[in-house]
Subunit: 152 residues, 2 copies
Amino acid sequence: MFKQVLIALAGTVVLAGAAQAQQRPEQAIKYRKSVMTLMGSHFGRLGAMAQGRIPFDAAVAADNAQLVAMLAKLPFNSFGPGTDKGLPHRAKPEVWTETAKFKEAADAFQAEAPKLEAAAKTGNLDQFKAAFGAVGKTCKACHDTFQAEKDN
Amino acid sequence: MFKQVLIALAGTVVLAGAAQAQQRPEQAIKYRKSVMTLMGSHFGRLGAMAQGRIPFDAAVAADNAQLVAMLAKLPFNSFGPGTDKGLPHRAKPEVWTETAKFKEAADAFQAEAPKLEAAAKTGNLDQFKAAFGAVGKTCKACHDTFQAEKDN
């Protein structure tokens, strides 16, 4: 089952190659946490624009959204079997028990993220806000089910 | 002096905007360490191809090199004043005392990284190896001077 999920993910994620499958659990956890840190930082800047806390700059937004779209491809192969332990992290056990649902949540995020880049490039703030909201919903949906409040 | 360096860097780094200047030291350290973790992972995969440990695949190499080139834009604004303390990290004090030299090292890396992406896209292994070596030299030059062996 895990293997099927990993193969299914691998098909869409050229960046996450064989090297990752051979990672030690600590490496995989450190890797995916790093992705999430960067994602949070750059998605946060997009949020600041979407919510009007800083002015909307289409070029800056597009750059940040492009990075978010690239980062979106990276973390999900790093939740393989055995990577529930090794370093403190916030992934709930459901990641490893509800793999089909987890994959669905990851797919939803990966489908929306590139649309935010496209929306930013239009320079239209309303389109950007709508796309930001759609991506944010997929973040929240996954975190609500699969992310713990604190390290476990 | 720091401000000048930050402004000089900011000119080339659209992704690292005002938000970063307002980061707390712990956030800045966590951010730049996350960038380095991903850089190491994906540059490592390119190294495995350059050194013949895994087969050279131009498409995979180009994807990884594109990511490395994007990541190369990110960390250097996160070494601002006051970010030498807050979390364990491996940046030497020289980062904050030899700022011009540090900027030079960062510039060298940022100049070479995009060339690796271009070389990977040619599909020519020799060109790829040469470009990989050139980037690796800029990594090593910076690490030799500015990175400690262990967390400080």
